[in-house]
């Protein structure tokens, strides 16, 4: 009955249109993203990593920790992460930074089958983490990128200087959509024979394509005082705060005993 009426009145038709717009299933942009930890969310559009994007983490220090902090978000949200070529990873630290280890698989592969293995992993894993142990040829890297874009998984590769990267001279081809580079890192809590490593302040440059074209600076506690990842305000480098016992004693009193 109502359908007949609505044919006549334009107001009813408009009403039906809005109802239809409300009920039509839409694919939200969020559904195409892997969620990140709170500390990263302000920088990344939509609070997550666009699926199908390539992330490159670099820096003289701190690259491994940044990569783990990025991986923590997706694994907490139920995605699986595969790690290739990260023999030296400290998984206890990964767990402290929030990575859910029950959804992490570690694959040890010889360099010659790297391309086949990563291709298989990209098919089924939301996040594939490539360490610096293998440096693929430009062709292999391009293939992997194309595959990741098609399958909607995120490939993250680390070229830190600690994770065995010094041995592999060839750098990764520049294919990344998101570049995370550590520009400054400073530890707090350690002194001259006193205290211990407690927390680290990291300044991270985030550049990339697709809504990240403007370079942004991200200040992080990685790890913060409780061992997790937290956003930090900008701290002037080499200005010790009350957090650091650096200035307490130039020589440890223990030495007099020894």
């Amino acid at each position: 009955m109502r359908a007949v009426d609505s044919k006549k009145s334009p107001a009813a038709i408009a009403q039906l249109r809005t109802a239809l717009a409300h009920t039509r299933p839409v694919v939200l942009a969020e559904q195409r993203r892997l969620p990140l930890l709170q500390a990263f969310q302000e920088v990344f559009p939509g609070g997550g990593l666009q699926r199908g994007s390539i992330v490159h983490v670099s820096g003289a220090v701190g690259a491994t920790a940044v990569a783990l902090a990025v991986a923590a978000g997706p694994t907490q949200a139920g995605s699986w992460a595969a790690c290739v070529g990260v023999e030296q990873m400290g998984w206890a630290a990964a767990a402290e930074l929030g990575v859910q280890l029950q959804r992490v698989a570690v694959i040890q592969t010889p360099s010659k089958s790297w391309a086949t293995v990563t291709a298989a992993l990209v098919d089924s894993f939301d996040l594939v983490l490539c360490g610096a142990e293998h440096a693929p040829s430009a062709q292999d890297a391009r293939r992997l990128v194309a595959r990741a874009r098609e399958r909607g998984s995120v490939v993250m590769f680390i070229s830190g200087e600690s994770l065995g990267a010094a041995q592999s001279a060839r750098p990764w081809p520049s294919v990344a959509d998101v570049e995370l580079s550590v520009v400054h890192a400073e530890w707090f809590g350690i002194g001259q024979g006193t205290g211990r490593l407690r927390q680290r302040h990291i300044s991270l440059d985030v550049t990339g394509r697709r809504g990240l074209s403007r370079s942004q600076r991200l200040e992080l506690w990685l790890p913060d005082i409780s061992g997790a990842v937290a956003a930090a305000e900008h701290i002037q480098a080499s200005t010790p705060t009350e957090l650091t016992p650096t200035e307490l004693t130039p020589s440890s009193p223990l030495l007099d005993v020894g």
Partner: protein
């Protein structure tokens, strides 16, 4: 030859009541039997660190199913531990199937160790259900013995010497009832009445037509598990039986006496399938699909596949295709016929059944089992020659897909399933040990805090479940960052001497030699009281450049196993910071090592 006219008419009258009258052959502890080791020597088959099957010798030592590997070894230090291998089970079971196929052309395999066939034709030929059951029992027992002898011969050839004279016992149960699930319970009952230790004389268990409910009535309610454990997760079935038990419903009879509406309201479809079995009306596929629609899929294999894994690759794709086609129609497949054809014209087919629905992975796994049996044992028996040329999957019985009830917190089952498949593929490429999972465990040194466990030793789905249960707590990032490690480091003990958090992000798999010196270039030591001999000033790693130390902390000393001359370790750890990077150095026996880096 054995059938007289009277027998024939009697048995056909028997079966007239129920068309689904079924015989089930059940080989107890098949995974243990398939290893072909003598039964007296204790042996356990483990999967994900739990005993899932064991032999006579192990049972006599007091080991039971569900023990951890450690517990089993504590009961019997001499016990042999074998990893679970479905392919091995399937391969060994092929000979039993060949024996059963002498009675009936098409056998339905439930899983390696269990098969079924409808008795309508064969029992009228052999003179009744009892006669048939006796014949099958005798024939299967001989076949199992032959399997054992054959395997022993193979083992001896390959250098595993075993006593030829040792008895290889396998307790075979045969049960006949109205419907496959009832028959499964009957077969199990026949084994239990003999005694698990195989002391009595094996008698097949034949349930008279229409008497299935009566037969089941005094049995404990857990036996209804056969109706539930495959369609639903065995965990929820266990919960249902636990609830029933606590409500005082301990036998199948009591369960069957409940009002059907209450069972349905309380336990849902899981309870209904158990209820139907308990009342003697087995789960019959009420809504069979239109048989005129042909759902079968096939693939030509070119070049010919000589090895099982080559065919298995094709099978995975084919199974997924079939599954997609069926689920597009809202259907699922509960019985599938797998046909493979070799270039020599040998046609090899086998019917696989499953209570509930076969997933794509289930089908792929069954194809693999089947081919494993043919290509290895079949070839030696002359039943198959040449390479596989064509593979076909024909869904024989199609039911409406009732779907799966996801957990309340949105279990992400799919992600785990996809991950497991990809990892299986990587394993096929690189070998079983290439894929590992990190597992935290308590330890003092950073290199021991986490171990990489081969994936075969872990039950991934159980892991996925446990993590899904945790997910409400972890789904909010803010909550998890406040308490980041509560779920992962719980129950790890205090470990005195362990380094304070945070842990290093890079742990060198082999420590690197390092030098740590004071202002005068003297190598540093740590006294018995845990005090550094001087202030560390410079450091170098692996004979490289000298670095000026900016900050340092420590030492943290540990002394492990001081009572043990060999295992005794005394170590001191120091955190040093040079070139803005923090490192962990360890002193042991006068030598400094770079153990880890806080990258």
């Amino acid at each position: 030859m054995p059938n007289t006219g009277s027998h024939c008419s009697q048995s056909s009258a028997d079966s007239a009541g129920s068309a689904a009258r079924t015989l089930v052959v059940l080989c107890a502890d098949w995974p243990a039997v398939a290893t072909a080791r003598p039964a007296e020597k204790p042996l356990v088959v483990v999967h994900a660190n739990r005993v899932i099957s064991l032999n006579l010798g192990a049972r006599r030592q007091g080991i039971a199913i569900g023990f951890t590997m450690r517990e089993a070894q504590a009961h019997s230090p001499a016990v042999e531990v074998v990893q679970y291998d479905q392919q091995r089970d399937a391969r060994a079971f092929e000979l039993v199937l060949a024996a059963v196929e002498e009675f009936v052309p098409r056998v339905e395999v439930i899983e390696p160790g269990q098969c079924a066939f409808p008795t309508l034709g064969p029992s009228s030929y052999h003179g009744g259900d009892h006669a048939l059951a006796q014949l099958v029992l005798a024939r299967v027992q001989t076949a199992v013995l032959n399997t054992a002898v054959l395997n022993t011969a193979v083992l001896q050839e390959s250098g595993f010497a075993h006593n030829r004279g040792a008895t290889l016992a396998c307790v075979v149960g045969v049960g006949i009832a109205d419907g496959p699930q009832g028959a499964q319970i009957a077969a199990k009952e026949s084994i239990l009445r003999t005694g698990v230790l195989g002391t009595g004389v094996l008698q097949p268990m034949v349930v008279q037509p229409g008497k299935t409910a009566e037969f089941l009535s005094p049995l404990p309610i857990e036996r209804l598990g056969v109706a539930t454990d495959s369609t639903h997760s065995s965990k929820s079935a266990a919960e249902m039986f636990d609830v029933s038990r606590r409500l005082g419903i301990r036998t199948v009879g009591r369960f069957a006496a409940l009002p059907i509406a209450d069972v349905s309201a309380r336990f849902g479809s899981l309870g209904m399938s158990a209820y139907r079995l308990a009342t003697g009306f087995e789960t019959t596929p009420l809504n069979l699909a239109d048989p005129s629609v042909d759902f079968s899929v096939e693939a030509a294999i070119d070049p010919l596949a000589e090895r099982v894994d080559q065919v298995a690759f094709v099978a995975v794709a084919l199974a997924e295709q079939l599954h997609a086609e069926l689920s597009g129609q809202g259907l699922a497949c509960s019985r599938v016929l797998v046909v493979a054809q070799t270039d020599a014209g040998d046609r090899i087919e086998r019917l696989w059944r499953h209570e509930g629905a076969l997933s794509a992975a289930d089908i792929a796994r069954r194809v693999r089992w089947q081919l494993e049996g043919w290509l290895s044992t079949g070839r030696s028996l002359g039943r198959c020659s040449g390479g596989v040329e064509r593979l076909q999957l024909i869904p024989e019985q199609v039911i409406a897909d009732t779907g799966m009830q996801l957990g309340f917190w949105g279990e992400i089952h799919n992600a785990t399933e996809r991950a497991v498949q990809a990892l299986a593929r990587v394993q096929a490429l690189l070998g079983a040990d290439a894929v590992k999972l990190p597992e935290l465990r308590g330890a003092r040194s950073v290199s021991e805090q986490c171990q990489l466990v081969p994936i075969d030793a872990v039950d991934l789905f159980a892991k996925g479940r446990s993590s899904a249960n945790q997910s409400p707590a972890n789904s909010q990032n803010s909550a998890s960052s406040q308490n980041p490690t509560s779920s992962q480091t719980a129950g790890m003990g205090p470990w005195p001497g362990r380094l304070p958090l945070p842990s290093p992000t890079v742990v060198w798999s082999e420590p690197v030699e390092a030098e740590l010196v004071d202002a005068f270039g003297q190598s540093l030591g740590v006294s018995g009281r845990g005090v550094m001999s001087a202030v560390p000033v410079r450091c170098r790693v692996a004979g490289g450049q000298w670095h000026q130390i900016q900050y340092w902390a420590g030492p943290w000393c540990t002394e492990q196993r001081w009572w043990d001359a060999i295992g005794h370790r005394r170590r001191a750890r120091v955190q040093v910071l040079f070139d803005t990077a923090a490192h962990l150095l360890t002193l042991e026996a006068g030598q400094w090592w770079l153990e880890a880096t806080y990258d």
